[in-house]
Subunit: 354 residues, 2 copies
Amino acid sequence: MINLTSIRYINTIVKTDSVKSLFYKEYGEPADVLHVTTQPINQPKNNEVSVKWLLAPVNPADINTIQGKYPSKPPLPAIPGNEGVGEVIAIGSNVKHLSIGDRVIPNGTNLGTWRTYANYTSEELMKVPKEIGTIEASMLNVNPCTAYRMLKDFVELKPGDTIIQNGGNSAVGQMVIQLCKVWNYKSVSVVRDRPNIQELKNHLSSLGADEILTENEIRKTQIFKSKKLPSPKLALNCICGQNALEISRHLAHGGIMITYGGMSREPLTVPISALIFKDITFKGFWMTAWTKKNMDSIERQNMFCELGALFKNKKLKAPLHKLVPFHQYQEAVINALHTDGRTGVKYILDMTKP
Amino acid sequence: MINLTSIRYINTIVKTDSVKSLFYKEYGEPADVLHVTTQPINQPKNNEVSVKWLLAPVNPADINTIQGKYPSKPPLPAIPGNEGVGEVIAIGSNVKHLSIGDRVIPNGTNLGTWRTYANYTSEELMKVPKEIGTIEASMLNVNPCTAYRMLKDFVELKPGDTIIQNGGNSAVGQMVIQLCKVWNYKSVSVVRDRPNIQELKNHLSSLGADEILTENEIRKTQIFKSKKLPSPKLALNCICGQNALEISRHLAHGGIMITYGGMSREPLTVPISALIFKDITFKGFWMTAWTKKNMDSIERQNMFCELGALFKNKKLKAPLHKLVPFHQYQEAVINALHTDGRTGVKYILDMTKP
């Protein structure tokens, strides 16, 4: 039970003193192994704050974690969720850098955001300006950062340079398109063909995409000749398989392909000549590992500062998404694995509707 | 016809004033498209020297070039051969840095070493000390340099670190084993199984190999646990296909695989998890490109200096080889594609038996 003498404020939304959490005791399909539990809210310790979680995205990596297929395995039983946005509703007496009413996001992984409330040390949280919308804030940690780092850390890009990516309508893909627009890089995005392809192309164009091609179109495209587009120095790959192979063929000599996902579930196939004669490099990127390694780095501070400003100024917009009331979590976890690339819609749990 | 007034010396081996050359007018199988031509020796111009080629290795890349399958395509008709050792038998009046009697190797590619004599500018040649045996000198340009650069340029290795390679008995593979021995790196070499496997293992052990495993053995090996061998930071791959996949599994987190050949003619298959979660990098290496880019560099000078000293001190030995009289070139070109990895024997054309 919360001790009202130790806290200075409770958000008006708080109508109950219980916590609803999703949790799992064994790995498996989320729809099977996830259950809702209700517990009383604990008073925050002296170095802790109480967070009322507002929104929490459901990422493919969350699903893979629950399935036990992800390398980052929390001890069981576990509460899922790596991303989210919450509000500080109570603070312990020793907490200095956070105040009641602050909007916070996780500063690390496996904080278990798929619940209505929880207590954390202040180091586990990062304050975000309120000018960033709640939806944008809820997904600040993973996708925008992934796009940002992949565009910054592997090749020195100059305005006018080209990048190419598959999964152009994935949550990361849409961030890549927008960041390229901001930094004046040309982006070539490959998407899967679908009945409403023109609608999708229009949407990505509105975000600032320069070229959008289907998997079929990229195979025979002449845009690098006919439109005098410089060959890309950087390819971003979240699909692998044949799709990635087609993408890699367009890379400039000495270019690099960064793999950050494998939605096709096929390995990456690399022609010998691409390695030896075209001097193409193939590397991977994992945001979780980057964050762990750079937790307190200037680079990380600068990144959040820059991304925050871009969200505030509406230069970056959240990808297509659907809010799902917390108690209807089944819809989100069943569909989340298909969000990247297929539907292009990201599912977000809405804890204000517990 | 050679003008005797302009030259100061003719090697005593010179019994004739004609040049025998192998040449091809069209791409195809070397046994079909190669022909012998005989021409008079031309007098060297003022800035040229006349070289009597003594030995010239037949590399798989030479065969691929003749087949038209290699990216480095000399204009046709062409005289094949990128490596060799020769003796300066005449010098033009303006040549300063070479003398008659000097032993030379090509300083660049496509010099056409598969002939008995030719004239070159002094910049096209590099002098090598006579203490280096002719066989070793004839193959100094490609294989030892390839092994040297791959061990130097991609990972900072410390004594005690492990590297892993396939094609352990290839010409490059044997150089890798010996350089690892010199520099105190542990080498794990994978070779194809064969009837005389113990003989091969003994040979590679005698060169300083730490561990030699067949493709079958590498799949289930526990040497990295049982022998407390550090996981390799560097893998060298000239095979690709399933073989390279097995090798890559043993790499340490953050390790790198360098591909410099693809004897299996299969592409490289890269599991997604190796890229994203193990942070493995896949790159290629092409000695030809390195040489072009670093022709006059200190790094190249230092490399030849160091390799030359190692050959002189017998710390490096030439790989298993077979000298083939020049007129029996058919035997060499038919077997050369199989030298890497299969027979482990390198064919060398002997121009002293034209």
